[in-house]
Symmetry: C2
Subunit: 396 residues, 2 copies
């Protein structure tokens, strides 16, 4: 087996493929990259049994063949080579692959290609396309809301994003049961039904792979237990998470007693500053007091019901604070426009920071009810996005 | 106590002082910064008993006083403040210090200033000055050769740099017993004698503190057990390491059988590339074969003694390689000029990488003897620098 290729092109392909390398080598072959050179093409495969990646690049193939090289080492070696082109030469007799470039020579031991679990193309029942930037947006604006898989305590369905179709739109939903994010996008072609839970780890890798300067379509194919994504030279296949995703719309509040419209940047800056004190303790609690400027007489006479019926938009502020009795406290106020009655409410500050990172509009809207009822966060630039956040109970 | 100061100036002073904060809080007061506001000046002190730092900045002092704030938190809070100025206000009644800037307010608990071990100015027997860039050069070109203090196995004297005077020059020496680095610089004023071992940890912090755009003098004062450095607004005091530093010149080879002159960049690049294979095993071994281009007849007839007497400069190369039987191997050659006989020699690659990082000249000179005898590395741009490196024994 003998071939050469352009170093930068190879490095790009390797940076895609290694996303599917097994990290810990229970099965050493899964820490390897499968390389097949044939007819001017180099195919690279990686497969850790959760996600599989196949990618292609141009190569000058002098003598076709296949081999498996330790993935991380192959990437490190390629990075270190000085020239523009890289030359591979494999002598099956001694099992050594020589990799040369401008007088520099590395040799790596070939693993056994016949042991590598080759990736087959899915023959799916459902198939559709979606523009890559739409798919990236779906993942970026929801994926962070999944339960962390590392804690090992989360139910598997909450370690993935739920993908479904509503009124012709693709909907992605993610939750860790304390907060939930929903985003909707237009598919490339009409689809009727879809009910899948895709591991968020796979989606995060996918975002890195399909992000290109020029918009392209991603073809998605699903079977009962697997999903594949195809985009330009790369084919990605993942297992699906088994189980039924809860009816997420049940957590949407039926009505909103108080609406606050606030500058996204000012709110995010204040939360980030004050998070410093919140994060010094394990509870991460930040307190928000939404206060409208009212005529004093008004505040004394109105009943709760009257407040709720009152749709006047008032100038007001949110007073943000956090206290750790061991360290100290922090507080500041941000102006906003308030409709409805005043509310005092507390959150895990990390869940607020997360959503403020994805909000792109100049303003965001917070929909509030009672202090222990979930709030709704919306983005002025994206009516398809909704974030539901459950407050925390505090002693004061 | 009430004062204000410019945020950026305060941040710079804090970044200096926190270098002397205790990390682990066996004594909580040592994780605090002592602040004293008086007569338009804010003094900040930190003291972890190994190194103590005093630094000053301008302040508008409305009400003088002293306090101790948790150092890391004070820095984090200051960084987060939005305005140009920072206002401190301490109410001794409740022990709370409020730190405000443009409507943002943090409060931190005051620690007990009377518990803080205040730093006194050293009254030393020996005192001299050295330009800051000379002191930085001494440390940067030798300090990395000290024994790592973390392993806990090194003799204390090898965790510091030896500072002495030879022929009117300041000499700094560092060794971990496997390699040794020496650098010489001119002092700012003549000094006669000096025999100190300064902890390298302190010297590394010092380099960060005294590095200024405009060259300035550093005043050094020593007692039996302590040393102080004074530079602009900052005063640093450190303990010295007790013990007698070995007579380092004993490890200098008395003669050199082979001299190789090589491009620093080409040699460093090759070593860095091949280090990838060397570092995959614990031994970190890299093999160097120095080979001159000779007439074949010459190689057969000359005796060792004749080679040594031969001062002809020949074209040649060093063939650099490393092998890990589990992974593979790497090799390449770099051209050089060789005087004397050919040598095969092996090193811990990290010790070669370290010295190549500090060599600034276009070429470096390697002085070699037998394969198990120390080599001498020199920099074409700096005749005051010498690096001695002991080879490793290999099976082949």
């Amino acid at each position: 087996m003998k071939f050469s290729c352009v170093k930068e092109t190879l490095l790009s392909a390797l940076s895609i493929a290694i996303r599917a390398l097994a990290n810990k080598a229970n099965t050493p072959i899964l820490t390897g990259l499968y390389l097949k050179a044939k007819d001017g093409d180099l195919e690279i495969q990686a497969n850790n049994n959760e996600i599989g990646i196949v990618t292609h690049l141009e190569a000058d193939v002098e003598d076709q063949g296949e081999l498996v090289l330790p993935g991380k080492y192959l990437q490190e070696v390629t990075r270190r080579l000085p020239g523009e082109k890289v030359y591979f030469n494999f002598s099956p007799e001694n099992g050594i692959v020589s990799i040369t470039s401008e007088g520099v020579k590395f040799s790596l031991k070939n693993l056994n290609a016949s042991e590598f679990p080759l990736i087959n193309r899915l023959e799916g029942n459902t198939s559709f396309t979606i523009p890559n930037n739409s798919l990236i947006k779906l993942v970026k604006r929801t994926g962070y809301s999944c339960a962390g898989g590392d804690a090992g305590e989360a139910r598997p369905i909450f370690t993935g994003c739920f993908l479904t179709v509503e009124e012709g739109k693709i909907v992605m939903v993610a939750t860790n049961t304390h907060r939930l994010a929903v985003e909707r996008e237009q598919p490339g072609n009409p689809i009727e039904e879809l009910n899948l839970i895709i591991p968020v780890k796979v989606l995060n890798e996918l975002v890195g792979i399909i992000d290109s300067e020029v918009p392209v379509d991603v073809r998605i194919t699903c079977t009962e237990s697997k999903i594949s994504f195809e985009c330009e030279n790369t084919y990605i296949v993942s297992r699906l998470i088994e189980g039924k995703f809860p009816e997420y719309k049940r957590v949407f509040p039926k009505s909103i007693a108080t609406t606050a419209v606030i500058s996204s940047k000012e709110f995010a800056d204040a939360i980030n500053r004050i998070s410093f004190i919140a994060k010094t303790s394990n509870s991460n609690i930040i307190k928000l007091e939404f206060i409208a400027e009212r005529d004093p007489s008004e505040a004394l006479t109105n009943t709760d019901d009257e407040y709720e019926a009152d749709s006047t938009v008032r100038e007001g502020k949110v007073h943000i604070s956090s206290t750790n009795p061991e360290i100290g406290n922090a507080d500041e106020s941000v102006p906003l426009k308030l409709t409805g009655k005043d509310v005092n409410i507390s959150f895990n500050v990390n869940y607020l920071i997360d959503v403020m990172k994805v909000i792109e509009g100049d303003t965001c809207t917070l929909g509030l009810n009672k202090p222990l009822e979930p709030i709704v966060v919306q983005d002025s630039d994206d009516e398809e996005f909704t974030y539901i956040l459950t407050p925390v109970r505090t002693s004061n």
